[in-house]
Amino acid sequence: MKLFLSGNEAIARGGYEYGATFAAAYPGTPSTEIVESLIPYEEIYAEWSTNEKVALEVGLGASLAGSRVIVAMKHVGVNVAADPLFTAAYTGVNGGLVLISADDPTMHSSQNEQDNRNIAPFAKIPMLEPTDSQEAKDLVGEGFKISEQFDTPVLIRITTRIAHGKGLVDCQDRQQPPKREYKKDASKYCMLPAFARKRRLVVEERTARLQEYSETTPYNRIEWGAKDIGIITSGIAYQYAKEVFGDKASYLKLGFTWPLPEKMIRDFAAQVGKIYVIEELDPYLETQIKAMGIEVIGKDIIPNMFELSAEIIREKVLGEKPLPTKEIKAPIAPRPPVLCAGCPHRPVFYVLKKMNVAVMGDIGCYGLAVPPPLEAVDTTVCMGASIGMAHGFQKASDWIGDNKKAVGVIGDSTFFHSGMTGLAGMVFNKGIGAVLVLDNRTTAMTGHQPHPGTGITAKGEPTAEIEIEDVVRSMGVKDVAVVDSYDLEGVEKAIRHALDFEGPSVVVFRRACALLKGLPKLLPLEIDQEKCTQCHICLGTGCPALVHHPDKTVTIDADACTGCTVCAQVCPFDAIVEVGGEARD
């Protein structure tokens, strides 16, 4: 049976076919659909963990208990999970443990670009790289096999075009996983220095065996074509190279990319003319191959940043100029993503913009409050950074006598991910920062996954709902408020109070994401053109339901308007009213 699957769906399918019984992840583009696609399988337990470090720890525990496990995350998630990962490399596993890193070259939906192939030699764990959806599925089986045979976590590294690219995948029935009993073994699982030193030797010996395996695995193979050009490649770059060269070159296609098959590389190099290493992002293969003393052409002509493409290879390797393209004979307005109509984040940032405070932002939809017209955010760094940075900014500013105010703005899912630890530090270290938690009742940016505050599990079962305000109070924050984000006056009052309070202060702005299903419908609004003075203050909210016409009039798109009333609240002339002309009180 052939199914048309994205790489992420294919990895989930691989988990199913090759006997996974356990999956854990924190959502993050472009990795989210892996565990989303595993959730429906009855045979597999799947959860959204609090963050990526927790996901890997949960996965390691499940592996020790005997499960075959998939743990999935985006590239920056692996940074969060690096701590358990680097020691899990020492403890090894019981049931097969596969960690998927979904990298995002060109940063379609990320704050940085990193090539997580570097993680494999750094953590000393074997790595697999699929070139399409079929291999994405197959390599999950290969990953489980290697993990159990060599007693190691296995990294499967994909990129956006593998994760979200779809192709035909040959699908099979599920295989029953082997039963693997848990055996207590402190010398293997307790990495106290004395034991860790012994395991360090095991890791090195394992790497030597993996190196031999790399020479024989069918996932490292030569595809012969014309021999005057030899191409060494992996991942999506293989497809671009094939697109450009077809059979006019020979390929060393590497699917098992750590440790590299040195003999096979030497053998290939000896049989071809000019050798190109075609890879996306870092010179990962190139550096190792050059260290073998083999002369290759790579990053001296192929860019080391942003996505690669067939066009780039044509131009850089073959010197072919891009095709002349049709000219667009009109100014093309950009169409950036925006906060949705009715987004409960909007009023908070509308208020913050008016205040002279440093706004330490975080990772989530609220990144859309950075560009105009809101321009309300000073920083976007990583998950949870808002609280630590607000504390540090406030402390330093007081210490040096600047007395500049700082607030940290963080989402609900992000608060549980890594905001709580920062807040404990703020309380402990006598911080006086204000923390604003934008609680929209879901993990919105990645497509509405539940989190510890939503009262529902990944599998859709009801569960304990952790109230953010309870957490915050129990951490010793004395000044805690819960405010409806749609109440602009209440939002402003709460922020001003939090800023004035001499101590750590938390405001939870609670209002569900406007895209969540099953919300009560509010009446859309319209603009009374008699009262409207075309002052355009409403446009400052950046709501996409407000339409500014060439004649300067503004109207409301009734299909887009959710009736949040934020524009009506900012209108100084009471010109924005519910459809039907009823005045708002």
Partner: protein, 193 residues
């Protein structure tokens, strides 16, 4: 052996429902026996941003991405987006465009102009330009405004060499059962453009 690969772009605005159209199109190509690859980007761009889905089919497809100047067909759910992706169209390529203007945020805020003459420019540049008001077709011919994406696919299908029955079969299995008749009507109506 020549490996002929056909390149299609589906372009529009995040939230317009290009994904269902892409799913039907890829299902049709699979059913017709082609190797198919499709590439889209999720996440940030879905919040009302410009979105593109690349679809490539033929005997054997390698890259999931369409190169500039090589698209045989562009199906655009919105006029400005058809213009934005025009550099991907090959010299004699065909554009099917929904006669719909969705104003991007810089235009809504009065910071940029919308190219209201988009159709005239497209007519000059495209080998073939097919324009239809998909929501009107969906309402008037199928009685259901939500069939507009399938109406656009009808117009696209006319420029692809795939049996009408394959399209009908895949549409039947891809849309909610209650809307099958309306969608088949919308598909037939779109194919008249």
């Amino acid at each position: 052996m020549t490996n002929k690969v056909t390149n299609v772009l589906l372009v529009g605005v995040g939230g317009q429902g290009t994904l269902l159209a892409a799913r039907i199109l890829s299902g049709v190509l699979q059913e017709a026996g082609y190797d198919v690859k499709m590439s889209e980007v999720h996440g940030m761009s879905q919040r009302g941003g410009s979105v593109v889905t690349f679809v490539r089919y033929g005997d054997k497809v390698h890259s999931p991405l369409v190169e500039k100047g090589k698209a045989d067909l562009i199906l655009s759910f919105e006029k400005l987006e058809a213009l934005r992706w025009l550099p991907y169209l090959k010299a004699e390529g065909t554009i099917v465009v929904n006669d719909l203007a969705l104003l991007p945020s810089p235009v809504l805020m009065g910071k940029a102009d919308y190219p209201y003459n988009a159709l005239e420019i497209l007519a000059e540049e495209a080998g073939t330009l097919i324009t239809l008001d998909a929501s009107k077709v969906a309402m008037e011919e199928a009685g259901n405004v939500r069939t507009q994406n399938v109406a656009l696919l009808g117009a696209l299908a006319k420029h692809m060499d795939i049996d009408r029955q394959v399209w009908q079969q895949v549409i039947r299995s891809s849309v909610p059962p209650k809307t099958v008749d309306a969608n088949l009507k919308a598909f037939a109506a779109g194919a008249r453009y």
